[in-house]
């Protein structure tokens, strides 16, 4: 699992993020803050600006579009359930202006040409409503009818063309379109979807729609210029709405939150689907994506601390690079293990942690002299209750042997046997404050060292024998090497022992 790191862009946000790019190497992000005002953070090609407050009191996620370089229009629902609008004209912010209406959904905005904006939202009667900017004035709201049960999603594959999608009362995806002179539809495109629709056009007369199905898998339906294809299942188990973006003809990148809270990615390369691949993180929002040039992607999400996080594809790799956080482990040998060598155990830990983006450094290896009267009884260590924060007297005594180890280094003591009040253990990870340590028995499995150090870093047991932290015995790992999932990696990264 490489590239699991995300860049924190700070802030405390309370909605999904809307990202827009009005030129190469330019990104503008919008989200609501804790004071319900709209906030803005931007990338100018060399550094991040903001967060700046754009004021207002908004009651939906903002949506931003750009119809020309150095032009941004941002929309959100206000306290009065009307649509409110702010715009950047290249030198200053205009608005807030009220665009009226009473809406009951998030807003979808699309620009099919310069100085043109079309807005869609659900009304009080659950019909879809439309409002547009024609370059000199706002038109609408016009009712486009229907009874929709999701946010509308609008896309445009050419000048004076709009396609809008929403879920109907039957759970199917429904479609209306503007052909330049009249509205077509509603037409049912079938399926039973359980999320909002996300749609993208990678070329003229081409539309790709994605949604979560009843089985929580990602489903895909597409318009090829003459007919609808699909629904095709792209598998996975996703939470919330998927996100799609295209950085070029016949290219699609789809993102969704997985059951582990991480961002997952599938892509269409023109001939086949790649993925799923995990991009890590533990997110608490939908995924916002923008592409400011070919083979470039920028993703923005809210993290568990409600800050905004960023990950990018630069054409060859995901950034930011692997975490620079490392874990330093010292080995103190009282008895050599009998089933695997210390090196095998350490290398397994280094492999598993390294794949999670946490390099493990071997701080030192020292053989403790079990002939010494004070050390000898600790070779068969009694860990008492072996519960976190409650080390036994013997563990306290053993922890005095921390040669070479800093306070934020983990010391693993290789003992002949490990016991607790109820019987024999392969290892134990309770330790005195300020002396992080684990004990590992000579008869432990090849993964026990990594498992116990996982406990030291704050991980708990899980019921999955494909994962390092299984409570079902690391001798019973079913698909080696065992996995660490994104939320576990987040916990490990948050430990003051990974620095």
């Amino acid at each position: 699992m490489p590239h699991l790191n995300w860049e924190s862009l700070g802030g405390i946000i309370t909605t999904n993020i809307s990202s827009v790019s009005w030129s190469s190497n330019r990104i503008d992000n919008f989200a609501r803050g804790t004071d319900n005002a709209m906030y803005h953070r931007w990338w100018n090609g060399s550094s991040w600006g903001g967060w700046e407050s754009l004021g207002g009191i908004i009651t939906s996620e903002p949506v931003a579009v750009s119809w020309a370089p150095n032009r941004i229009d941002v929309f959100a629902k206000g306290q009065d359930n009307a649509v409110w609008h702010r715009w950047w004209n290249g030198s200053s912010w205009g608005g807030w202006e009220s665009l009226g209406g009473i809406i009951t959904s998030n807003i979808s905005a699309v620009c099919w040409g310069p100085n043109r904006i079309d807005l869609f939202a659900r009304g009080l009667d659950n019909a879809m409503y439309h409002k547009w900017w024609n370059g000199s004035a706002w038109g609408g709201w016009e009712s486009l009818g229907g009874i929709i049960t999701s946010d509308p999603t609008a896309v445009s594959w050419g000048a004076n063309r709009i396609d809008v999608f929403a879920r109907g009362t039957d759970g199917a995806m429904h479609h209306r379109w503007w052909n330049g002179s009249a509205w077509g539809g509603w037409e049912s495109l079938g399926g039973v979807i359980t999320s909002n629709v996300t749609a993208e056009c990678w070329g003229p007369n081409r539309i790709d729609c994605f949604a979560k199905g009843q089985d929580n898998a990602l489903w895909h339906k597409w318009w090829n210029g003459s007919a609808w294809g699909g629904w095709e299942s792209l598998g996975g188990v996703i939470l919330g709405d998927p996100t799609v973006i295209s950085w070029g003809a016949n290219r699609l990148d789809v993102f969704a939150k997985g059951t582990d809270g991480a961002v997952w990615h599938r892509w269409w390369n023109g001939s086949a689907w790649g993925g799923w691949e995990t991009l890590g993180g533990v997110i608490t929002s939908e995924i916002s994506a923008t592409a400011w040039s070919a083979n470039r992607l920028d993703l923005f999400v809210r993290g568990t601390n409600n800050a905004m996080f960023h990950k990018w594809w630069n054409g060859s790799a995901w950034g930011p690079g692997n975490a620079a956080q490392t874990l330093t482990v010292h080995i103190k040998i009282l008895s050599n293990p009998t089933r695997f060598t210390v090196t095998q155990m350490f290398d397994e830990m280094r492999t598993i942690y390294g794949a999670a983006g946490i390099p493990v450094v071997l701080g030192s290896t020292e053989t403790l002299n079990v002939a010494l009267p004070a050390i000898a009884p600790l070779n068969d260590i009694d860990t008492g209750t072996c519960t976190g924060g409650n080390p036994s007297g013997e563990q306290m005594a053993l922890s005095n042997n921390r040669n070479n180890a800093a306070a934020n280094h983990v010391v693993v003591y290789m003992c002949r046997s490990v016991s607790y009040n109820s019987g024999s253990l392969n290892g134990c990870a309770s330790f005195p404050a300020g002396r992080p340590m684990a004990v590992v028995a000579s008869y432990a499995s090849r993964y026990t060292m990594a498992h116990e150090v996982g406990h030291v870093l704050g991980l708990n047991h899980v019921s999955d024998n494909n994962r390092l932290m299984t409570g079902g015995g690391t001798d019973n790992i079913t698909n080696p090497p065992p996995d660490l999932i994104a939320s576990e990696i987040t916990t490990m990264m948050a430990s003051n022992l990974t620095v």
Binding site: A376, D380, R416, S422, G423, S424, N426, A441, S442, N476
Partner: protein, 151 residues
């Protein structure tokens, strides 16, 4: 119906077994295979089987520890010394403990002493006193003196 050997191995061969949870799923019919597992070539399995037998708290389980008490591998004798704390009220356990208190291995002696302390085996008070007189390791000697005082 007893568990198969494979099922029992999977059940007990954990990094940090919750022995009470394991034993709650077992019956006396499982003891013969558990006894067999105390002789398993993998000490991770053998020591867990020894610990489980202790929690079974029956004469058959106690008898099943006999081989472990006399096993050449001190790791298994340590597990047996520890396991006896749950069987100390059964006839025959004292004799096993007495033997383990005389063990040449310091770890075995330590856990035998702890079992005498935890299970309050007062019949071994004089044995502990005698052991302390010849104990060479000061840590174990101090432990023995403390145990003696408590008995």
């Amino acid at each position: 119906m007893p568990f198969s050997k494979e099922e029992l191995i999977k059940m007990i061969n954990l990094d940090e077994p919750d022995y009470q949870a394991i034993v709650s799923k077992l019956s006396a019919d499982d003891i013969p295979i558990l006894v067999e597992l105390t002789k398993h070539e993998n000490p991770a399995i053998a020591t867990k089987a020894i610990s489980v037998l202790g929690q079974m708290k029956s004469d058959k389980a106690l008898q099943g520890l006999n081989d472990a008490v006399n096993h050449p591998d001190p790791v298994r004798r340590i597990a047996a010394a520890h396991s006896l704390r749950n069987l100390a009220t059964l006839p025959g356990s004292t004799k096993m403990l007495e033997k383990l208190l005389d063990d040449t291995d310091i770890g075995v002696r330590k856990f035998a002493l702890k079992t005498v302390e935890v299970a309050k085996v007062t019949s071994l008070r004089e044995k502990v006193k005698a052991m302390n007189l010849k104990e060479v390791n000061p840590e174990i000697k101090a432990l023995g003196e403390n145990v003696f005082k408590k008995l």
